[in-house]
């Protein structure tokens, strides 16, 4: 082969590279056996902290909920163990049935009529809402409004997704617009060039805000409204579909998916019926086969590349299959009542925690006048970076430091409490805060 292409030795193929980089000394450790390497890796991984041994008040988009053992067990069945919907979908009735049930449950949860089969995570589902809205108006509306109280990571992903589109201005989340619960400044930005307005429910600070006036203001300008939701909260709250949202997206991780360093997670995406033709991904429908038996089919895949090719408006043509399945099993196992119970426990425990911490001298709950779900903001009397390190010494992950994303919330912590948190641990956080603050 070397002779055919006219070079003498293999090294000649690399002569375009600077000489220093051609055959660098990789400085690898001496060769090890598999057993030795496994032991090394074990040791490295044991220096990770996990929510098993730490008391975690971290949330900010990913939540430590209890997952029934059956979820993982069913998930690992060979018949389901693929991330993809098969390319001959109808042959996999089990997968299609799971998607159908997932879509039905997301529909019920969000109050929307249509749900696709899922996205990578909440942030990418959010970005997909922007892409869909842009194409819905055929590129004629150029403004996307993101609430400053929308998860900063979601906002960043939206910007990354849309960076190749110079027609679009992504705005509304500047510090000057603010994070006031009345949304006055933010609502004032909606005009007839606005394609979509995106808000979060409960918002990044855990606040439950009534978006009805905002939705009405947006609709008056002909704009779409997307609401990024926490699915657990929807067990208790009025779903956005009932107050007129056009698109509902969200992070499905709280539905039986482990925290696992930030992924794989699950993005859900639901719309009202008017937008059914605009959504990416696939829809599964229920029907009967030639023998009159119950069967599932891919009813609609209109936006996918294999139908629309270069006219496709999205890259998404499959789904986050395994994680979608996990959430479906989780919701099925819990049932309506069980899921409500989880949400209610989150709510009650978070409110207990908020009142306990609020009672400590120097600590105060920010936004205390606005209802919240299972996450709240506490202003600390000390530097939060140091405080979190101190708490870490007591095996407590004390929350999410808001100072970096929100300079206006200096020394503020975002604290999440789920159903898993025992009361003793909340009291322990309270006592530890007292102790480390007085030091």
């Amino acid at each position: 082969m070397l002779k055919t292409i006219g070079v003498e030795k293999i090294e000649d193929l690399f002569d375009k590279l600077p000489e220093d980089f051609r055959f660098p000394d990789l400085k690898l450790p001496p060769q090890q056996t598999e057993m030795e390497i496994a032991a090394d890796l074990d040791e490295i991984s044991s220096s990770n902290g996990s929510t098993k041994e730490l008391i975690s008040f971290l949330g900010a988009g990913a939540y430590d909920h209890y997952t029934p053992a059956a979820v993982d067990n069913l998930l690992q069945r060979g018949e389901f163990y693929t991330a993809y919907t098969p390319y001959q979908p109808e042959i996999s009735q089990g997968t299609l049935q799971a998607i159908f049930e997932y879509q039905s449950m997301i529909g019920q949860l969000t109050g929307m009529s249509v749900s696709n089969a899922s996205h990578y995570d909440g942030a990418t589902a959010c970005a997909e809402a922007v892409i869909m809205a842009y194409h819905h108006f055929r590129g004629k509306r150029h403004k996307v409004l993101l609430s400053r109280a929308l998860n900063p990571q979601y906002r960043q992903v939206v910007r990354t997704y849309m960076q190749g589109n110079p027609d679009l201005t992504i705005t509304g989340d500047e510090q000057a617009v603010g994070i006031d619960a009345d949304l006055k400044n933010f609502t004032a930005l909606i005009d007839n060039d606005t394609a979509v307005v995106i808000v979060q429910y409960p918002d990044f600070f855990g606040r439950v805000i009534n978006y009805k006036p905002l939705i009405e203001a947006a609709h008056a300008q002909g704009a779409l409204v997307a609401v990024a939701v926490n699915p657990t909260a929807l067990a208790l709250l009025t779903p956005p579909g009932e107050i007129g949202a056009d698109i509902v997206v969200g992070e499905g991780q709280p539905l039986g998916i482990p925290l696992s360093y930030g992924g794989p997670y699950l993005g859900f995406f639901a719309v009202n019926e008017e937008l059914i033709r605009k959504i990416s991904g696939r829809l599964v429908g229920q029907t009967t086969d030639v023998q009159g038996q119950l069967a599932y089919v891919l009813t609609l895949t209109a936006r996918e590349q294999h139908i629309r090719r270069e006219k496709a408006t999205s890259n998404i043509c499959s789904n986050q299959g395994l994680m979608m399945l996990a959430s479906t099993i989780y919701l099925t196992l819990l049932g309506k009542q069980g899921f409500k119970q989880v949400a209610n426990l989150c709510y009650q425990k978070a409110h207990y925690a908020a009142s306990q911490i609020n009672a400590i001298t120097g600590y105060s709950q920010v936004f205390s006048e606005t209802p919240f779900f299972h996450e709240f903001v506490i202003k600390a009397p000390v530097n939060t970076e140091h405080l979190l390190l101190d708490l870490r010494g007591y095996d407590i992950l004390g929350g999410y430091d808001l100072s970096h994303d929100y300079p206006e919330l200096k020394n503020c912590l975002l604290i999440a409490v789920t159903e898993k948190m025992p009361r003793e641990n909340i009291d322990f956080l309270h006592d530890t805060l007292l102790e480390v603050t007085h030091d």
Partner: protein
């Protein structure tokens, strides 16, 4: 396959019929047959919009593919057959009748000369 004589055709399978300076535009029998069952029609122009020859008018989606419908001549959109969004199957049943897509006010009727007549279009289709 039908190729009505009173129409002009594009290579991309649109037809136009002109009466008193007003053109009616649709897709040919050959086009609906190649697409198979049409499930969705999405208009990408609005009434009163000026559209140049060759620009897109609508997207027609079938169970197999999505196809863009283009403007055969330059002109202003007068009317769109918006009912097709609810009954896309009409495009298969009556591509030259009730399945029309848009009506336009032509800018310049001489642009029609650049299009194929029925005979040329039929020969073109048979050669594909």
């Amino acid at each position: 396959m039908e190729y009505p004589k009173d129409l002009k055709y594009m290579k991309s399978d649109e037809w136009i019929k002109v009466e008193n300076g007003i053109g009616t535009i649709g897709i040919s029998d050959y086009a609906q047959d190649s697409l198979s069952d049409v499930v969705y029609v999405e208009f990408i122009v609005d009434p009163d919009q000026k559209v140049a020859a060759g620009e897109g008018l609508a997207t027609v989606e079938s169970v197999k593919a999505a196809a863009e419908v283009n403007m055969p001549v330059s002109g202003t959109i007068l009317e769109i057959n918006s009912g097709l969004s609810d009954t896309p199957e009409v495009l298969n049943q009556s591509p030259y009748g009730d399945g029309w897509l848009v009506k336009v006010q032509l800018d310049d009727e001489s642009e029609l000369d650049a299009l194929m007549d029925a005979e040329a279009y039929e020969a073109y289709c048979q050669g594909r």
